[in-house]
Subunit: 198 residues, 2 copies
């Protein structure tokens, strides 16, 4: 005997999500079945709406309902600075800080020879076009501090620098509130290397 | 700045699921957005269908598309034995074993004074009605080996025994393939207590 077909289909759908195996998927499916009808309908509609109502901003590549996105349309922001991130969630993290008032550019990935991701597979072409067309003074590269993130930062730096635009990279070092004792060697190395006079 | 509204709603929906916090919900929402349109539509439809097309079998309480359920309608099964479980997933586990050919009764919960769950809150009334109306010879109680599961088993046993119907409980002891070294004391106690002559 199998699960009734609607449940089996829902379990299959949950299993397509990252980090969710067969047991968890079954648990989530049974939980969904016990949820209020309204909550389930909201969930289903949110799924459909995410697929139908969102697009990539044609300027910066960020996820948006309207093109260009809210940030690209905002004339009170500093359009001469562009902060380059790997994905849209990084934009949200930066915005939560409430300090950066420049623009963004979302790559939707990083260069990864291991996974066959080359420069043409991520959102680099529109960045270059943007740098040629708009008055941009500084590109701040905020890819993650992983091997791929570093390689992407180096690649972009070499690509952009000849045009005379300033290219910077986020500082790496000890996280605020962290213990030196627990810091890994690469982080300590970066902290020493990037030390500043007091 | 907030997430675009469709994403924010999807994150909210994911956060309603058990064991999923804000960060995981955001990761799942972005993942869903990158899924194939067809997969997302299947997911949404499965959610709706689980809510709309499933009901509880009026005989055994199992989740089903048709009432009575497949098992209750099956005349080749042994209708004199009823195995009582906590939820529909336990029925599936039993069916995977392919050995038990009797009927089921799904309680949809266990007695739990701590959480205020009394006999009227779980599917016990229909079980008693069933025992009165059908020719049932044995009730096998297969609630989990937790404090609540044990208490529910005791409660049902005392309720049913006076009617002369045989009441049994699943055996508890060492799991097949497990190490004595790693068994907890209660399991070992049950294994000794339930020992059998070879």
């Amino acid at each position: 005997m199998q699960y009734p077909e609607p449940i089996a289909r829902l379990i299959d759908s949950y299993m397509k999500l990252p980090g969710i195996g067969a047991k968890t998927a079954a648990r989530l499916a049974f939980f969904s079945m016990d949820m209020e009808e309204e909550a389930v309908m909201n969930f289903a509609n949110a799924l459909i709406s995410c697929k139908r109502d969102l697009r990539m901003c044609s300027v910066c590549g960020n996820i948006t309902q309207e093109d260009p996105c809210e940030i690209c349309r905002d004339t009170t922001r500093d359009h001469t600075k562009v902060l380059v991130v790997e994905d849209s969630r990084d934009v949200m993290s930066m915005e939560r800080m409430r300090e950066f008032r420049g623009m963004y550019h979302v790559l939707h990935g990083v260069l990864s020879p291991m996974e066959g991701t080359g420069p043409e597979d991520i959102n680099i072409a529109t960045l270059i076009k943007r740098l040629q067309e708009a008055e941009i003074e500084e590109v701040i590269i905020a890819t993650n501090a992983t091997a791929e993130g570093e390689a992407t930062a180096m690649y972009l730096s070499r690509l952009i620098k000849p045009s005379g635009i300033k290219v910077t990279r986020l500082a790496h070092g000890l996280a605020v509130g962290s213990d030196i004792e627990y810091a890994d060697e690469m982080t300590l190395f970066r902290a020493i290397e990037g030390r500043r006079e007091l």
